[in-house]
């Protein structure tokens, strides 16, 4: 066991894992986090706390993690490279570990142009792969990237993200292989709408034996409307939403109901794809649907380990 986190235990047990996301609030009020934690407890094995996602200032990921841990819920913190240099990143990893946070997702991060602080000076001392490599060295050897060896290294379970739907497509499996080499234990993918394309990606993952080295969590997003589908299709770089999905949402009598139905179908299918070890549910602005989605997908109850 690298860190002994709940998520790690689920993977090790061979069970199909479930993770979901909680978006920290744009305020200093911890109440929304506590509220979501209480509502979602037991519906997933761990919950991602995003790190100033899309460069919008929010309650920090690590602080959010501690708040939800008080409700007995396991966090996955996210650490982007946009806002912090190697000194802060390594320091925050030590801090997170000291607070009992075990799961860390390493991301390069959205550029600040997308957020509400466009005049910010970005950092990008590392990219996500260097970050993984540095954190892996820190947890295994206690060694900083600058060379100094620390007493009591952090016990961390490292994750990454990967997007099978970004160009160059033929490079995306090799990119995951690099993340594996750098130390990633699990991977959450960008939301899948083009199932064929995802399965081709998984074919290559298995061909290269990567499914034996990293736990892939397939990403899904339940949609509320046809508008949401169109937005993701046209306005989000790196997302592919086939026309038949947009049409399905458009022609539905009750869009929200259809969106949930579609999401559950996707999860049921993903359960059968070899090499997929779990699902990552990103219910953006719709966290309250997660328990229902998990239940309808036959994934309740979630296991409890001592």
């Amino acid at each position: 066991m690298k860190a002994g986190s709940n998520l790690e235990k689920v993977f090790e047990s061979g069970m199909f894992a479930v993770t979901a996301e909680i978006g920290p609030p744009q305020s200093a009020n911890p109440e929304p986090l506590t509220h979501h934690a209480k509502m979602l407890k037991g519906s997933a094995d761990a919950f991602n706390l995003t790190d100033n996602q899309t460069a919008v200032v929010r309650l920090s990921s690590i602080a959010s993690a501690v708040i939800i841990m008080r409700e007995g819920v396991e966090p996955v913190i996210q650490m982007t490279c946009r806002d912090r240099n190697r000194i802060a990143l390594q320091s925050d990893l030590l801090g997170a570990a000291a607070l009992g946070v075990k799961n860390v997702l390493c991301l390069t991060g959205d550029h600040q142009i997308f957020g509400n602080e466009k005049g910010a000076k970005n950092v990008f001392d590392f990219d996500s792969i260097v970050e993984l490599q540095v954190f892996d060295q820190l947890r295994t050897e206690g060694k900083q990237v600058g060379g100094e060896v620390l007493k009591d290294p952090p016990r961390t379970y490292l994750g990454c993200a990967e997007n099978p739907f970004a160009t160059p497509y033929e490079w995306r499996v090799t990119r995951l292989a690099k993340k594996v080499a750098a130390g990633a234990d699990f991977c959450q993918t960008q939301a899948i709408f083009d199932m064929d394309m995802f399965e081709k990606w998984m074919d290559e993952i298995r061909e290269r034996g990567l499914d034996k080295k990293i736990h892939v969590l397939a990403g899904v997003i339940p949609m509320k409307s046809a508008g949401a589908a169109r937005y993701m299709k046209n306005k989000v770089p790196g997302m592919i939403v086939p026309n038949h999905i947009v049409d399905r949402m458009k022609n539905a009598k009750d869009a929200k109901e259809e969106g949930i139905k579609l999401c559950v179908e996707q999860i049921e299918h993903l359960k059968t794809v070899k090499g997929v070890h779990g699902v990552h549910i990103m219910a953006v602005a719709w966290e309250e649907m997660v328990p229902k989605i998990v239940e309808m997908s036959g994934l309740l109850p979630r296991p409890i380990f001592d």
């Binding site: 390069t108 990219d127 792969i129 260097v130 490599q133 990967e162 997007n163 970004a166 160059p168 490079w171």
Partner: protein, 234 residues
């Protein structure tokens, strides 16, 4: 080369407002080539400022000149009289030129008329794109000749990120994803193996992050004895 562009004229109008005698000094080097502060641009700015004064009924003396290369003291000295005789110099050179005037004549005001800028390459007439940020430790031989520090919005060493769509950068869809381009280039050169290994953390101490940098050629520097000799001749 260094590429700059003229400040919005409104800003320059405000800058020069309190001064009676304004001298605009351009440069025939980089900023002339990128059409920001050469002879023509100086003339046009002076004319526009005069038209403005006509509208406001304001009396102000404005003159414009160009020097060969404003970051070199010898050439700036050629217009010393003009600088000393004015209340304000507006430099239409890059900031290097503006600061050279400022350093040579510290009691005289010299304001920048341009915003500098980038190390830019002329892509086509009228378009200059940034291809270097002076990190001080060039690695383009490992990336097929394409600099990821300047051309990737996130300066990634192990790109591309997940936002690369249609080989364009998510930050600016008019810009190519540098790492998609690097991938294509390395594939063309049969050197994709360079991209397969993890590139470790970059040492940024050679970049501006490490502090203001001074480059030297020791063998080209003058000894104190030589300097004395030169001064005697001048």
């Amino acid at each position: 080369m260094i590429v700059a562009k003229r400040k919005p004229i409104g800003e320059i109008v405000e800058m020069v407002a309190p001064y009676k005698k304004v001298t605009v000094i351009g440069c025939r080097s980089c900023v002339a080539i990128c059409l920001a502060g050469g002879e023509k641009e100086v003339k046009m700015l002076v004319s526009a400022l005069k038209i403005r004064n006509k509208k406001e009924g304001r009396k102000q003396e404005i003159e414009g000149f160009v020097v060969e290369r404003q970051c070199e003291k010898e050439w700036v000295k050629e217009v010393e009289e003009k600088i000393l005789g004015s209340d304000l110099v507006v430099s239409m050179a890059c900031s290097l030129g503006a600061q050279t005037i400022g350093d040579m004549y510290p009691e005289h005001l010299c304001f920048p008329g341009l915003n500098t800028g980038i190390f830019g390459v002329p892509e086509e007439q009228g378009v200059w794109s940034e291809k270097c940020v002076g990190c001080g430790d060039c690695i383009i031989h490992t990336t097929g000749g394409i600099c990821p520090i300047s051309r990737c919005a996130k300066s990634m060493l192990n790109g591309p990120c997940g936002g690369s769509a249609n080989r364009k950068c998510e930050v600016n869809l008019d810009v190519d994803c540098a790492w998609a381009a690097i991938y294509d280039r390395l594939k063309l050169q049969n050197r994709l193996d360079l991209m397969e290994k993890v590139t470790p953390a970059k040492d940024w101490s050679t970049s501006h992050a490490g502090g203001r940098r001074i480059y030297m050629r020791e063998d080209a520097k003058l000894t104190p004895h030589q300097k004395k000799g030169r001064e005697a001749v001048q």
